[in-house]
């Protein structure tokens, strides 16, 4: 039993994905083990809520289990899982608020000068961003995705993605870097 577990732990990802696609439960468990940290981290960045992020991550793994047979190539597993995760978060936001890609309105953003005092951490600063802006910024910085990749993952137009990243970065910079330097 222990040997079998070690075998899975040492196996290359495409092999494990192929086994999971054939219904191998141990291979599926291994994929969950390998991807859990990354997925929970991404969803925590997106949601700003640990409990919600873990619940969403479990839902993503359930979808992965249901759909893994439809995956065409095992080496595309990472991108495929990432798209499921992003869609899961977007669907959650849509159900909660009715929308997720509302336009970025500077006037609605909290004024930095109104909240002086303790320096802000990254998660709190991200939480202040509108959903669509946050997702673009997180995918660009946390996931190191290119603009075309973000367009594919979110369905937003390229101009909107660039604008969201520029404005979101400026907002985060003001919160995290400029404010800290001003202290």
């Amino acid at each position: 039993m222990r040997d079998a577990q070690n075998h899975y732990r040492e196996g290359p990802e495409p092999l494990i994905v192929n086994l999971a696609m054939r219904g191998d439960r141990d291979a599926f468990t291994e994929l969950v083990r390998r991807k859990a940290g990354w997925l929970r981290g991404l969803l925590r960045r997106l949601s700003g809520d640990e409990t919600l992020a873990d619940d969403l991550a479990q839902r993503v793994f359930l979808k992965m289990w249901r759909r893994i047979r439809s995956l065409k190539k095992a080496n595309r597993f990472g991108g495929w899982l990432k798209r499921i995760a992003i869609n899961e978060w977007i669907d959650h936001q849509r159900k909660r608020a009715g929308t997720w890609d509302e336009p970025f309105d500077e006037a609605l953003q909290p004024d930095i000068a109104e909240t002086p005092g303790v320096g802000m951490d990254l998660d709190s600063a991200l939480e202040e961003l509108p959903d669509a802006v946050r997702v673009c910024v997180v995918l660009a910085y946390h996931e190191q995705m290119t603009h075309p990749e973000i367009v594919t993952a979110t369905g937003l137009p390229i101009g909107t993605v660039k604008s969201h990243i520029r404005r979101g970065s400026a907002r985060l910079r003001a919160r995290l870097i400029d404010y800290g330097e001003a202290q």
Binding site: V32, G37, R40, R45, A57, L62, A140, R173, I177
Partner: protein, 115 residues
Amino acid sequence: MSELHDRELQAFFDATPELHDDAAFVSETMARTDKRRFRLLGARVSVLAVIIALEILLESPIQQSMGALGALLTQPVITIDGEWAGFLLEPINSVAGLLGVILLSLHWIMRKVVR
């Protein structure tokens, strides 16, 4: 990476500690997946049982209905005495043929009306 990428901001993202202790999360996820798997299996078995039961209960009535429908559709509309005439008109001299002619006529009339 693009010209929009802020390196100082990237440092904040890179400094985030990774989550390591995933054991509890993994076992919880697998328990949830197994629960869903058994529920799905139960639902499939139930549906299969219902289909088999319906098949057993309705086998005779369905076969009878299909037989009666087949007999009705092949019933000649008019009796033709001539052997050759009967053979040539056989495709349209039936309830099914009559229904086909009626549907084609309706289709033709509709096309004319719409034009």
